[in-house]
């Protein structure tokens, strides 16, 4: 997919993107293909973690699978935040 095919609200404009790639090539001394492959991997990993978190919070994914993808510390944080929000909602209406 070309950059132009990406929805305008989510695309980084072409000039900053090419400037970012040029900077990375020069600064990291990696070739452009390697940088783009790393960017794809990092981007996918980020999207994957976000989707797993969303599915877990929405109770669409079992805890064991969330732990396997995110680690037990992150899942414990999500559990605590969820419990805190439920307590807030309950207390807010009750007090």
């Amino acid at each position: 997919m070309s950059i132009a095919a990406i929805a305008p609200e989510i695309q980084m404009s072409a000039a900053p993107l090419s400037r970012a790639i040029s900077f990375l090539v020069e600064y990291t001394r990696q070739d452009e293909a390697t940088i783009l492959a790393n960017a794809l991997r990092s981007g996918l990993e980020l999207l994957y973690h976000q989707a797993v978190e969303q599915a877990y919070v929405d109770e669409q994914l079992p805890q064991a699978e969330a732990v396997a993808a995110l680690g037990s510390a992150r899942v414990a944080e999500l559990d605590y935040a969820k419990q805190a929000l439920l307590a807030d909602i309950e207390r807010g209406l009750r007090l």
Binding site: V57, L78, I89, R91, L93, L95
Partner: protein, 171 residues
């Protein structure tokens, strides 16, 4: 009407979504000076009483009191002096209700038997007190996740919306 101790989170986040009037559910809000200094970087705290009709009391928390607070919670790389000042102030004033959006401070408060409440709870309370309509509450919750710097991941937005709807139906 009641009193609460507040840290920087609810003051900042509710300011960002123009919901300071929700603090009117309290007659008094107590803030440690360390928190006030932090909040003033983002927010015009001098407008608080005008916008909320709630008394704002600022309190100095000295170094000795801070050290006692740190001894109570043990070492933590997630807590700052302003958090500990909030905890110490709540203990000193014997006010169990502490308004905070910080999960680490929330844990510490719960371990000491106190009652933390975040911005979401405060908005619900304002709705229960008829300061917000159900529709205004829905909008405020949405704004909290979109327009404020609330610590919570956006993945909680739909979860909170669902739970708020359930709570509104059952009240």
């Amino acid at each position: 009407m009641s009193a609460a101790v507040c840290d920087s989170g609810p003051l900042t986040h509710l300011w960002q979504i123009q919901q300071w009037p929700a603090f009117a559910v309290f007659s008094e809000v107590h803030v440690a000076n360390q928190v006030a200094v932090e909040v003033r970087n983002h927010v015009d705290l001098d407008q608080f009483m005008t916008m909320t009709s709630c008394q704002l009391a600022l309190h100095p928390v000295d170094q000795a009191a801070l050290e006692k607070g740190w001894n109570l919670v043990g070492s933590s790389d997630q807590l700052q002096d302003a958090d500990i000042a909030t905890l110490v102030l709540a203990l000193h004033l014997m006010l169990p209700l502490v308004l905070t959006d910080d999960l680490a401070l929330r844990r510490a408060l719960e371990e000491l038997g106190m009652m933390p409440m975040g911005s979401v709870g405060l908005l619900l309370r304002a709705c229960a007190a008829a300061l917000l309509t159900a529709e205004q509450l829905r909008q405020a919750i949405d704004d909290l996740f979109v327009h404020s710097t609330l610590y919570l991941s956006p993945v909680f937005r739909s979860f909170v919306q669902r739970e708020v709807e359930k709570a509104l139906r059952h009240r």
